[in-house]
């Protein structure tokens, strides 16, 4: 994760380039999700983090987590553990 001109982006490195040869810009929600993800947080923990950081409903927080994980997974920035 890099901060470029005030914006947060993800850049694939190493053999990740084979799966996604580009960058993804993160909004504030996605940035918080990513920061927790790299510590090994579960989906439930990610939802709870959003609830504590933003004034949103549990349903909205769950949707944001699912959508963000889906986008990151589609671009091979994350993989799900067996």
């Amino acid at each position: 994760m890099r901060t470029i001109a005030g914006e947060t982006v993800l850049v694939s490195v190493g053999d990740g380039v084979a799966d996604f040869c580009g960058i993804i810009q993160l909004n504030s929600t996605a940035r918080i999700i990513w920061e927790k993800l790299i510590t090994g947080a579960s989906a439930e923990e990610l939802t709870n983090t959003l609830l504590s950081e933003f004034d949103v409903s549990k349903e909205k927080a769950e949707t944001d987590v699912i959508e963000t994980l889906k986008i990151l997974s589609e671009r091979k920035m994350i993989t799900y553990a067996e």
Binding site: I4, A5, V11, V13, D19, G22
Partner: protein, 355 residues
């Protein structure tokens, strides 16, 4: 100039030396020339530390180039450290030094983009132009290895007198190797050597007219058919767009954004707004990157109107820029005759095919 400047796009010219000795190279130096200048190449440790600094300052896209970067015995050390830092990494190479250890490293850390330069379609041409008797064999072997990586791949060439007859075969090789969608990009200009370069680009380049004929063969064919009356003229009056000459007093590179969102650090550690500049630099290895970046715009004169260009009827199609003017004439605001002849010839073609 816009208030906000971000060093988003950087170029590290890791060495000015090259295993090929291309006659048209703008900036190639050798060990003897480096000794004459009193300058020196930067160490691996210095480049890695510089990359850490530019990452911190917000560089997202970083090009590693030369000379031939793989010529450095410590290329792998520099590359591996930088590849882990999270840049969108570009690598330019002539593809003739892709050893097994290097390709293994690139497989582990593929660059996002690889730009390969091609200089001919036979060992004879490589010998004549680049003083390399097996250059073409080595190039093809290197391309085979590099194109197996998942990186975006581009292939470019510079055409001069010594390889102009190879162009069709070079295009055929590119298409056969990569399919019809991969185009061999031909450099649009060859300018005077810069920064202590030891080659002779001006002596071996095509004339402006030959250059245009080489770049645009289909347009030339239609032009000649029109002149012979075999094709009708285009039923539309040519209405050239007014050329956007830089405004008086403006930052010199306002239109191309050099020094606004990009920079190049050469082999000796000098930072320029653009990699083809010969003057106007700061020294990031001495002052730190941030100060060198902040001080960069002050190294260049403010734009002034070049009277001959303001009134030139061909200016609308002229591609010269301040860096090119400086390289060709030694003057930021000089009038480069090669560009004038190119624009005049192109304008003549366009005038002839329009009613």
């Amino acid at each position: 100039m816009q208030n906000k400047r971000y060093p988003l796009n950087g170029t590290f010219e890791l060495t000015g030396r090259c295993n090929l000795q291309c006659r048209m190279c703008l900036m190639r130096v050798n060990h003897a020339r480096i000794m004459e200048t009193g300058l020196h190449e930067r160490t691996a440790e210095e480049w890695i530390h510089m990359a850490e600094q530019v990452a911190k300052e917000g560089t997202i896209s970083l090009l590693l180039t030369g000379g031939e970067p793989m010529l450095r015995p410590d290329f792998a050390e520099i590359y591996e450290a930088i590849a882990k830092m999270g840049f969108v990494l570009n690598l330019y190479t002539n593809a003739t030094m892709v050893t097994d250890p290097i390709i293994k490293l690139l497989q582990k850390y593929p660059p996002h983009k690889i730009g390969v330069t091609m200089y001919g379609a036979s060992n004879e041409t490589y010998q004549k132009l680049c003083a390399s008797s097996d250059g073409y064999d080595r190039f093809r072997d290197g391309v085979d290895k590099l194109s197996s990586l998942p990186s975006l791949f581009s292939i470019r060439t510079t055409i001069v007198q010594d390889n102009v007859n190879d162009l069709a075969e070079m295009r055929r090789y590119t298409e056969e190797k990569f399919g019809p969608e991969k185009v061999l990009t031909v450099s649009t200009f060859v300018m005077n050597k810069i920064r202590c370069g030891i080659a002779s680009p001006v002596e071996c380049r095509l004339t402006p007219e030959e250059h245009i004929r080489m770049l645009f063969p289909q347009i030339i064919e239609k032009w000649e058919q029109t002149r012979q009356g075999l094709l009708p003229k285009i039923k539309k009056k040519l209405e050239p767009q007014k050329h956007s000459l830089p405004q008086e007093g403006q930052y010199l590179f306002e239109s191309c954004r050099a020094g606004i969102d990009s920079y190049a650090i050469n082999w000796s550690g000098r930072m320029y707004a653009c990699e083809i500049l010969d003057k106007g630099y700061t020294e990031p290895f001495e002052t730190g990157f941030r100060k060198a970046w902040e001080d960069l715009p002050e190294q260049y004169p403010r734009s002034i109107t070049v009277e001959k260009c303001r009134t030139c009827p061909h200016a609308y199609i002229c591609s010269s820029c301040p860096a090119y003017r400086l390289g060709e004439t030694g003057d930021w605001f000089g009038v480069p005759e090669y560009a004038c002849r190119t624009a005049k010839f192109l304008d003549q073609i366009l005038q002839d095919v329009h009613e």
